[in-house]
Amino acid sequence: MSSKKLIVKNTSRKVFVHLFLYIITASLLFPLFWMIMTSFKPSTEWVSYPPTWIPNDPTLSNYIFILFGTSGNFARTYASAVVPYLNTVFVSVTATFIALVVGVLGSYSLSRFRTRGVSSLISIIMPRMFPPMAMIIPMMIFFQVIRAIDTYWGLIIVYIGFTLPYSVFMLKGFMDNVPKEYTEAAMMDGLSEWQILLKVWIPVIKNGLMTTALFLLILNWTEYTFALTLSSREVETITLTLAKLFSNEAGTYYGPQSALGILAAIPTIIFGIFIHKYLAYGFTFGTLKK
């Protein structure tokens, strides 16, 4: 009797939990669904009322417009989004890579040698604590002086500076969890400081490294404010292109924006899937008994 009751209770509980999870998942995926649908809608359906959930008259014109900058259905022509796309790839990948490398070196020394003062977490993350807007005017002037406005290297440097605190902050967290015995065993096995980092620490924190890489890449990939103020003419990135898809006659180009949004999301999604197992497994430190 009581066991039956329990089963009933458990089943209803399961149903409830699953229902709850479906609702959450649906609400999280809905914007993506809406964006995908909009990207295949002709301009008449973008903001029509009542909304069309599935495009009545699906078209690829939005994608064509994004790739070639023109399409028969649009009044205005733009430059193709291919160049901004490649710009974004180049700038964010380079900046992520460098921020990661410098972050590894920085966090290694902070974590391994337990430096006092500078190692306090607050001081690492401090540069990120005031809004970027507050820094932009002085940075614009400074970039003007050093002729870094509208250059790839200028933007890359800004992105490195912008993500490095996160890089050190996150990596230090992972590195602080590396048991000191690994380091000591490696010291006794004759490894130099560099070898300890490369052959022991990095493989041990591989999961953390991948997670940090994804996080930095997303930050750089979606950055808008610095790109807008420091390099909007020559080095245009996707975020800037998205904002430009607008005309006085036709209003915002929701269709092409959605199409570009989809194209822009693909690389980070692929990278995310690629490192999914590192994210999912999280932190397992193998043999050490604690």
Partner: protein, 369 residues
């Protein structure tokens, strides 16, 4: 093939004195066991030898060559960690060969030969391609030992290597470790808090307490002639019983006396050990195995016999640890298992005067030098 010498080693963490004036010599091929309660600084000595800690004072020499200012990798010392610390991302083979790759100029082929050979000795040949998380505790232990020995270091350090392993396997591995140490004839320092393990393993025992060495000697020597109260109480299972007694002289007879216990000693005994002892009180220690049941009949008390009540009987198989109460004082007696003893029984017990250990009440040093 190396002799290890530690001279006047001290280690402070700020105001905290972790090690004080440690002097130790370990001969070629000897296995020295540093034993003491947790937090006494025994691991710190090991870490100082390994070069993982800097010394505050003193020096460490291998074969009269100063090593205490060298980096760990130039010391030719290997260590087995308590938690094994096998590199989790490398196979057992790689774990074993890494040290050789970095400290020797052997060719890849020679390195693999050495790895195969040590794996054969330690019976881990089948595990070479596995990762550490696929190993059991005992296997990890063997790999950790292999990783240290494959380099043929001058000094082999073991930091409580068996503490994470269950009792039965621990005994097995303990004997195996000793065998391997003999075979390699390698100077070793072994740290443990388990006095039984220490007694079983060591050629030489070093009793460490509060950062100071209390006694160095062979296991037999330390068991028979503890230099002070701490050593006497630490070594031996179950631990020694201690009494604070007064030395009395009544009608030409000598007694050791307290509220709980009275014990007559011979004049010869008094003259040998207590004649020069100026103080009124002393500490007497008696091992549980030295205490004998006198008789069931409590009426025939002689001057060496006392009466106690049985409080608890711990059955250890072929022997019993009998906990007794003497007024407010508790003591333990170790006897061959007897079924007739029951909790609450009044029994009389006695012991030989030569089995007593006598310690100075002030400085706790043995009076039987």
């Amino acid at each position: 093939m190396a002799k290890l010498t530690i001279k006047k080693l001290s280690k402070n963490y700020g105001a905290l004195k972790c090690l004080e004036n440690v002097n130790l010599e370990i001969d070629d091929g000897q296995l020295a066991v540093i034993v003491g309660p947790s937090g006494c600084g025994k691991s710190t000595i090991l870490r100082c030898i390994a070069g993982l800690e800097t010394l505050s004072e003193g020096s460490i020499l291998i074969d009269d060559e100063l090593i205490s200012d060298k980096e760990p990798r130039y010391r030719d010392v290997a260590m087995v960690f308590q938690c094994y610390a096998l590199y989790p991302h490398m196979t057992v083979r790689k774990n074993l060969s890494l040290g050789l790759e970095h400290t020797t100029k052997l060719s890849k082929k020679e390195i693999q030969e050495r790895v195969e050979k040590i794996a054969g000795i330690l019976k881990i040949s089948k595990l070479l391609e596995r990762k550490p998380n696929q190993l059991s505790g005992g296997e990890s232990q063997r790999v950790a030992v292999g990783r240290a020995l494959v380099r043929k270091p001058k000094i082999f350090l073991l930091d409580e290597p068996l503490s994470a392993i269950d009792t039965k396997l621990r005994r097995e591995l303990r004997n195996e470790l000793k065998k391997i140490q003999r075979e390699f004839n390698i100077t070793s320092v072994y740290v443990t808090h388990d006095q039984e393990e220490a007694m079983a393993l060591g050629d030489k025992l070093v009793i460490l307490y509060n950062g100071k060495i209390h006694q160095i000697g062979t296991p037999e020597d330390i068991f028979k002639n503890p230099e002070n109260e701490f050593v006497a109480g630490f070594i031996g299972k179950p631990p020694m019983n201690f009494f604070e007694l007064k030395v009395e002289n009544k009608n030409g007879k000598y007694y050791l006396e307290s509220e709980e216990l009275t014990y007559e000693i011979s004049e010869g005994y008094f003259k040998r050990y207590l004649y020069k002892y100026g103080r009124e009180k002393l500490i007497m220690g008696i091992r549980p195995s030295s205490i004998k049941l006198a008789t069931q009949n409590t009426s025939t008390l002689d001057t060496k016999t006392n009466i106690a009540t049985v409080l608890l009987i711990e059955n250890m198989g072929n022997e019993d640890y009998v906990h007794l109460v003497l007024k407010s004082k508790r003591l333990i007696m170790k006897i061959v298992s007897e079924n007739f003893l029951k909790i609450g029984d009044k029994i009389s017990f006695s012991f030989e005067e030569e089995d007593m250990y006598l310690f100075d009440i002030e400085n706790k040093k043995s009076l039987k030098e």
